[in-house]
Assembly symmetry: C2
Homo-oligomer: 127 residues x 2
DNA sequence: CAAAACAATGGAGTGCAGTCAATGGTTTCG
DNA sequence: CGAAACCATTGACTGCACTCCATTGTTTTG
């Protein structure tokens, strides 16, 4: 598929997709048959981009994501210590989860303190 | 306490603390008695800053954090719809948790696939 | 009290992750 | 075919969240 379709499927802008490609998170093939100018993406790209956006919103940087994806595909750790790298990412994500839960608790308490008075108010209004 | 002590307690740089103060996330009092120039922070500030860093690493922006903290203190929703605001923040954090868990699974699987061959390798080396 | 340590301010600079705009090709469709 | 829709590239630009620097003032301490 071409970039517009992929953009529609994933909700990412064309620019963001091209940006991820420049950063090496995804790859495209030159379209065959036609003039060699449009990017062509395989059917696995939507899923791959969903994995990327998940990882991004879990706090993983584009650079780290590239290391991870490269390794997941080639099995080649490149210049880094892959065990150490993975362990660090894992505890980083575990921290994110821990801290998100704490924040969630605070947000829900704050919201709960709000529900009762607001309900009472709207009941008043309907009387 | 002064900014240096607070910095040591929280692990945040002085600059970051002053930045958060400029953004209205925290407040300081002018020191009493001495020349009116150093910030003085109350004993609740370490805890407050820990809450702030938690929220930050859960993906909440400084601007949103300011809205939240202001409301939590004054009970005044200001110009925003506080119910809607809280609901949006809550589902945003829930998303972060969901996506973090997905990423965590991927990371752990990747790491698990690594453990066995590496163990075998180090056993080889010790033989 | 002098030096060292600490702090304030203002403003410039950095890194990250996109986002936008201009210009010019390519496809598709009525 | 020709207009509309789609795509490419380059490079500048933006917003966020800090971070650094230079200068100047304050406190602490040996």
């Amino acid at each position: 598929m071409r970039i517009g379709a992929l953009s529609a499927l994933t909700g990412l802008s064309r620019d963001t997709i091209r940006f991820y490609e420049r950063q090496g998170l995804i790859a495209s093939a030159a379209a065959t048959g036609k003039a060699n100018t449009y990017r062509h993406y395989g059917d696995d790209l939507p899923e791959r981009l969903r994995m990327i956006t998940d990882a991004r919103s879990a706090g993983m940087s584009v650079a780290d994501l590239k290391l991870l994806l490269t390794f997941m595909e080639s099995g080649d750790p490149g210049a880094i210590n892959i065990n150490e790298f993975l362990d660090q990412r894992i505890s980083q994500v575990e921290d994110t989860i821990r801290q998100s839960r704490k924040l969630l608790k605070t947000l829900k308490l704050t919201r709960a303190a709000l529900v009762v008075p607001m309900d009472a108010y709207s009941e008043d209004e309907n009387r």
